[in-house]
């Protein structure tokens, strides 16, 4: 193989034009926090809605409280929980996958070792 300066130039150019985004890990944590925040805000809305509605004798005046409190609040809680589940489970499942891979490798190593023990293994250098 001859010296490949073209490859190096290409590399430099690609590095220069590379798009740097926030690391997945950081954006994931942000979304997780947004989810928790939304859910908490939703609960606050519901409590205020309930508090407001309970202070009004007329049904017509209770409606705005129900809308902004119960409906918006419930929406927030649901969206927040969805975000929380998505970003906490994603993380968990990834750990699980890595663990599974790791254990599979360890298992293979044990099988190979057992093969060696029966004298059917490789010859060493």
């Amino acid at each position: 193989m001859e010296t490949n300066t073209q490859r190096v130039e290409e590399f430099k150019q690609e590095v220069a034009s590379m798009h740097l985004s926030a690391p997945v890990d950081a954006s994931e944590r942000t979304w997780l926090l947004v989810g928790i925040g939304l859910a908490v805000a939703g609960i606050v809305f519901i409590v205020f809605g309930w508090y407001g509605a309970s202070g009004e004798a007329e049904v017509a005046k209770q409606v705005p409280y129900i809308i902004s409190g119960a409906v918006v609040g419930l929406g927030f809680v649901m969206a927040g929980c969805a975000l929380f589940l998505r970003y906490s489970l994603g993380r968990y499942l990834r750990f699980w996958l890595v663990r599974d891979l790791y254990e599979q490798r360890a298992q293979t190593d044990r099988i190979i070792e057992a093969l060696h023990a029966t004298g059917r293994g490789r010859e060493e250098f």
Binding site: V8, F11, K12, E14, L20, S21, P23, R122, E124
Partner: protein, 241 residues
């Protein structure tokens, strides 16, 4: 690429400046400065736990520095994802080789077709450089000798057409003759213009192919120089030759 003619060749291909990195709250790199000039082989030496692997992980984008900067060809790339860097041509061959032991040589190589090359092309490159792998293409990687597994790991790396190669403890657990053979190949790869950062605990063979060497201890670079500069130090110091 003619627009790059007259480019400043003083800019290292890879450079770390004041890099600090931590696992959780425990900081293990306390301000590392290191440069790999374009086309050079740099050896990073140091005892167990010095932070060599951590340094490579930072270069590969597997860890983000808590402070300091990583530059590739002059561009600050803190926070770049490891797969992004791998696609550009930053290739890591990890400690313990990272081949799939329960796949055959051929299947291991076929994993590298993500880079856009077809399997026959990848195989052709691999077997040209490592004829021994050709004989063993149907053998399970885990049943090969350590040296052959290291060859497979290198072949996989080369299949991605790297511009920067990060090698972690090539010699681990291998007989001196095999280590020499592997380093002869590293020298060949370097001769094609690939820049290489290679980590080792024991210095002797790697200093033969390195252009520069750095000694690391407890998360800091304690000395940098040419192999000749460092050889005298090393034979008397903690590395024990």
């Amino acid at each position: 690429m003619s627009s790059h003619e007259g480019v400043d060749h003083d800019v290292p291909l890879l450079e770390l400046r004041g890099v600090r990195a931590a696992y959780g709250r425990i900081e293990v790199l306390h301000g590392v400065d290191l440069a790999v000039p374009e086309g050079a082989v740099v050896a990073l030496l140091g005892p167990n736990g010095a932070g060599k692997t951590t340094t490579l992980n930072v270069c590969a984008g597997l860890m983000e520095p808590t402070q300091g900067s990583v530059y590739l060809a002059g561009r600050r790339i803190n926070g770049a994802a490891p797969d992004q860097l791998a696609r550009l041509g930053v290739c890591t061959i990890p400690e313990g080789r990272g081949v799939f032991p329960n796949l055959t040589v051929r299947e291991n190589l076929s994993m590298m077709t993500f880079s856009g090359r077809s399997l026959p092309e990848v195989e052709a490159v691999a077997y040209e450089r490592f004829p021994r792998l050709a004989e063993r293409r149907s053998q399970l990687a885990g049943t090969m000798s350590g040296g052959e597994q290291q060859m497979l790991a290198m072949a996989r790396g080369l299949a991605t057409d790297p511009a920067l190669l990060l090698l972690d403890e090539l010699s681990m657990g291998l007989a001196p003759l095999i280590v020499e053979e592997l380093y002869a190949i590293v020298a060949q790869i370097a001769a094609t213009g690939v820049s290489i950062l290679v980590v080792e605990q024991f210095a002797r063979t790697v200093l033969g192919v390195a252009d520069y060497a750095a000694i690391m201890a407890s998360g800091r670079i304690v000395q940098v120089g040419t192999p000749a500069d460092l050889e005298a130090e090393l034979s008397s110091a903690y590395l024990g030759g």
